[in-house]
Subunit: 349 residues, 2 copies
Amino acid sequence: MPAPLPSEKAYIPFVSVENMMRLVHHVGIETMLVELTDAVEADFRRWDLFDKTPRVASHSHDGVIELMPTSDGTVYSFKYVNGHPKNMSQGLQTVTAFGLLAEVSTGYPLLLTEMTLLTALRTAATSAMAARHLAPKGTRTLAMIGNGAQAEFQVLAMKAVLGIEEVRLYDIDPKATEKTARNLAGKGLQLVSCSTAQAAIEGAGIITTCTADKQFATILTDNMVGAGVHINAIGGDCPGKTELHRDILLRADTFVEYPPQTRIEGEIQQMDPDYPVTELWQVINGRAQGRSSERQITLFDSVGFAIEDFSALRYVREKLAGTDYFQKLDIIADPDDPRDLFGMLQRAE
Amino acid sequence: MPAPLPSEKAYIPFVSVENMMRLVHHVGIETMLVELTDAVEADFRRWDLFDKTPRVASHSHDGVIELMPTSDGTVYSFKYVNGHPKNMSQGLQTVTAFGLLAEVSTGYPLLLTEMTLLTALRTAATSAMAARHLAPKGTRTLAMIGNGAQAEFQVLAMKAVLGIEEVRLYDIDPKATEKTARNLAGKGLQLVSCSTAQAAIEGAGIITTCTADKQFATILTDNMVGAGVHINAIGGDCPGKTELHRDILLRADTFVEYPPQTRIEGEIQQMDPDYPVTELWQVINGRAQGRSSERQITLFDSVGFAIEDFSALRYVREKLAGTDYFQKLDIIADPDDPRDLFGMLQRAE
């Protein structure tokens, strides 16, 4: 009997952390952030086509583990992601993730990849996409509040996509600000390290909050926020975790990804169920108004949605073509006769 | 600066298909089926402790892709699994799967493994567990209807756990029966290949149906089923996919895994929402009656539940200790300073 040939579909390309870093440097991080922003925006334009469901969360005392599936009818994706604020004190990541693309017609996986880095990149790209549609025109100054693992990605996306020139940094822990300033040195940005949130937002047209406490926090209060700014709130992303005082939300026009998920997880969990929100995809498609005046406060209450991961996974899969930035993983049992799974096992003895 | 030491948590043990086959042969398939049956039963005994949710299904024209998460508060698991009946005609598996264990306290993965083989093993173990509690005492004959990829696993579990001696095989495709009979030859079973389902169930105390059509099918009709048998229906496992005529369900006492999922996916999707069912875990725990008379028809309407995968994943993790049946996968980004994800990326340039 000739040796059975394993089907090409039985080996799944896997992108390790090391290979993801190689891919990022191969493309160039700012180029990649621009391309990811365009990839996410392209999928927001065809929002209607996607299977959408709030993520499936398993909450525990210390954090949450979530599965985030979606599909455009041809390709399926999901991400596994955790959020454990106290991990940092053990030297572990607050957020780690990996994800998968699969073919809808067969259910066979197409790609498995680390997504801790990729999530930081796609979250930054999504922020930049929202700011492209909502921030005041000509903004050159960003306040970056919360200088943890995602801060540099957020800053570079705003630079690459919107032309931000000045970045004002603040974190409750000055060491985090030092780390971020050090990492961003030499990137063509004017960096100002601030000792209060109030100081950080002076003159900023975009305020990004990205803090990790799992509690109702008030990173920004109403009196701090002047007219005309765009706020990008990405740290409040699970029940019981918010960053903004509710008075800000009463003055702002709020834009969200997927309302059924954001009402549970976002800043607007503080508000009544009928607090008005606009879906960002409708602004991008021209179906709803974005910024309508110079004095308006716009808020992107971002919690992260599965379609953004879908876009990032598809982007990575395209970029892998012709490179060796992946391994082949023997994860799908593939007997020559599909009904003969047991025979395959038996012959392996 | 000293080179950062990657945390041990950053490398996740991965069990490939090849290593899973090595593990099965190392343990011995019948021993493994007995141990898996006990592992699943141990978790059914503590059913109340688990986070339970119907699986998250993404249906398409050709099949379904599902995510099946659960947690006992200490360990989290999920399985990715597809079901695409027409895959077989393309030389592909109808069902492929992989799964993950993670630590609830940190969200960090503990194990990633193929689960196409492991699903066949745990499904067989679950059938044997149910039969141990529901089948008529002293049954030595099994009718195995549907001789596809799972058939041999089902048969061997019934042999190893219940002492089945005679197996009567039937499939709509005689080649599938030939394949199953060939694979089971020399395993200490008396094998009878039958040309009708009616002939296959003659004298059988346990009837297992495991067919793959994605449609309402009638593998068994009411007149075929005599008093006193135990039916193990595992092929009807998604909306629109059933195997038994509803008249059988009207005569049988039906036992299920998790009613909210089974009412959508199981044989009982044909019945009224108040069709009475007994949860199998309650029988195992002595909280509900199993078989109550010699003439009773018991039906295990099995669709597969996340806790069974949890048990199987935990079992595999324990069995891996001290072996080399796994690779280490670099899937978690692990900077020495957890807030310095960007610095890690930058230093890799």
